[in-house]
Point group: C2
DNA sequence: ATGAAAGCGCTAACAT
DNA sequence: ATGTTAGCGCTTTCAT
């Protein structure tokens, strides 16, 4: 990083932002009249309206939403809280964008924060958002139990859980069909004739990870594959560990003929390991979660795709619906995953 | 999407959130004492402190940051505004995350919104953030001139521009070395012997796009390549258009021997087109912006990588520094791009 | 159609 | 060490 050019002075001329009172004074009207204009309330003559608008633009007045919400009966801040895994990852980004789109149509902004699957961070983030008086909270969790939220729910803040189901709390929930998707991936490999299949799992304390693990073993059980034929490796929480784990598997005397990787970055690590050993054409691979360019890799990667846009859209609509007074029973919305056949998942077992 | 299970009642028991006054009453102290405890001010005995903390936890009190900021001398809301291209795209996501990380260390949250390179949207988004009284604003722009922000800057809100340089405003700026990076990409292709090179550009009214275009032609000028040997296609603003444009190029009687694609999704479209025509091994390609799995494609994709994390980190530190009273002159920080050689950019020209 | 006064939850200034 | 009062910018309530 280099400083290339500079100019002027960075000083803050701390002149204050104009207030409604100043607008009223300039327009020669009462403050309540300005409030009426700003909030598009009825009962202002055209002449008065124009005077107010002129004063607003002359002063560069920007209404203070939070100050207004203080006295407002509904106490709305027009702000939604969102806790996702990590705003930098594609899944979270798509959820974030979907929530933003639904909220923006109503003038609602989104405060999004990253959880990093850190249980200690969860409560801090919830508190950070609540202290900013978000109208509703859409959240992914990392703790084992969310009953600490019961008082907050009682205080009237709608909570919508995404990606993971809460424990100890009744609420609206939006999740992928993790176990079903994982089972479908596994059945796909079994149908191609594979038996010696490796499972690559994320941290076992993460709910989605254990669901996918369950789906994997459910599918194996259906065809009665003995438990010791498969290899399950858990607690892989980054790409490098995934790559190392898969490389070790491929170096076994009797390497697996197929791999089911249960998460995005794990799939990337697996691809790198397979290419590193030149075994990408002789080992089947199905990944959970789609990847950009997955169709351009050789062989192209067969995946179980989630639908983060649908998850975010549904979650936002649930939250906004609750704010609109929807009192229907809480429900769990399961967004289906989809098998995308591209090649890597259709590689047959090596001849024995 | 299916509704699978339901339970209980979604009703909002609109019991209100406890206030400082209620905490004070329960603890048997004055409201200012509670304020001292909450804000970790000195001058509270241990016994009193404990009483307050007990009342806080008993009531589930959450401090209202915005109500507090109203009377606070510095008027800080502990909230930063961020306008990025699109929270769902990897570049913006990385910037967002970097800003979040720097801000979170000081208890500051980030309100991020998506611009979509829509000039009309820009002012609305700025206003939406200002009406929420963000302490500072980090923004990517789409309009031709940002002098409409001068009054806001005069009101004391620090503005930091990222990715694009403002026009009509003196401010802190953080950008990639777009022209230099594009020139480096082009020189790399020229060095391999290419002359018939195609340039694939984003919307010409986007500043970064025109900078990259300039860098491309600068490099061509250095070796005196006649203008009519190259093909420049602009205003490609999505992957499908990129794919169609490249396919058309490849179908020419005399197709280009090399392609410089000046943006992420355009590169993806170019890769798809090359593979679609089976010409990925006979046509060189360098893309601006790195892609996940770019190293796994055949051939692996040579790119000019940006550093969005550095951009976000620097921008956040600049904004926070201004809030801390930094009055040094405004500066433009140029974050260098980096050529990553992977194979696609080193393909030689086809024999004539 | 318009405005004055009170008060939302909090902090600043000034008590004690 | 602790409390009281005023007031931040706004909406509500109630006048006119």
């Amino acid at each position: 990083m280099t400083t290339v050019s500079n100019s002027s002075d960075g000083a803050n001329t701390r002149s204050h932002r104009p207030t409604m009172r100043q607008v009223a004074a300039l327009a020669g009207v009462g403050i309540k009249t300005v409030s009426r204009v700003i909030n598009a309330e009825a009962g202002v003559s055209t002449a008065t309206y124009d005077k107010v608008i002129n004063a607003v633009t002359a002063l560069g007045y920007q209404h203070d939403i939070y100050a207004g919400s203080l006295r407002r009966t509904d106490r709305r801040t027009l702000t939604l809280g969102l806790i996702v895994g990590n705003v930098a990852n594609p899944f979270s980004g798509a959820v974030n964008r979907a929530v933003e789109d639904r909220a923006a149509r109503r003038g609602i902004a989104v405060l999004a924060v990253s959880l990093d699957d850190d249980a200690r961070r969860e409560q801090e983030l919830v508190s950070a958002l609540l202290r900013r008086r978000v109208d509703a909270l859409i959240l992914t969790t990392a703790t084992a139990n969310q009953s600490y939220l019961l008082p907050e729910i009682a205080h009237g803040t709608p909570f919508v859980f995404v990606d993971r189901e809460p424990v100890g709390v009744e609420a609206d929930i939006v999740v992928s069909d993790n176990a079903i998707g994982a089972a479908n991936a596994t059945r796909h490999l079994l149908a191609a004739g594979h038996r010696r299949i490796a499972f690559l799992g994320d941290r076992h304390d993460i709910q989605t990870a254990s669901e996918r693990r369950r789906g994997f073993f459910d599918a194996l059980g259906e065809v009665g594959v003995p438990r010791d034929v498969v290899v399950a490796i858990d607690d892989i929480d980054d790409e490098l560990k995934a790559r190392a784990a898969v490389t070790a598997l491929l170096d076994l005397a009797d390497p697996p003929t197929a791999i089911f990787s249960s998460q995005n970055l794990i799939t990337v690590g697996a691809i790198r390991a397979l290419h590193g050993r030149g075994m990408q054409h002789s080992t089947a691979l199905v990944g959970f979660d789609d990847l950009l360019l997955a169709d351009m890799v050789e062989p192209a990667i067969t995946v179980i795709a989630q639908d983060p846009t649908a998850i975010g859209t549904i979650a936002a609509d649930l939250a906004l619906g609750r704010l609109d007074g929807d009192r229907s029973p809480f429900a769990t919305h399961v967004v289906p995953t989809r098998l995308i056949v591209r090649g890597s998942g259709e590689i047959p077992p090596r001849a024995v």
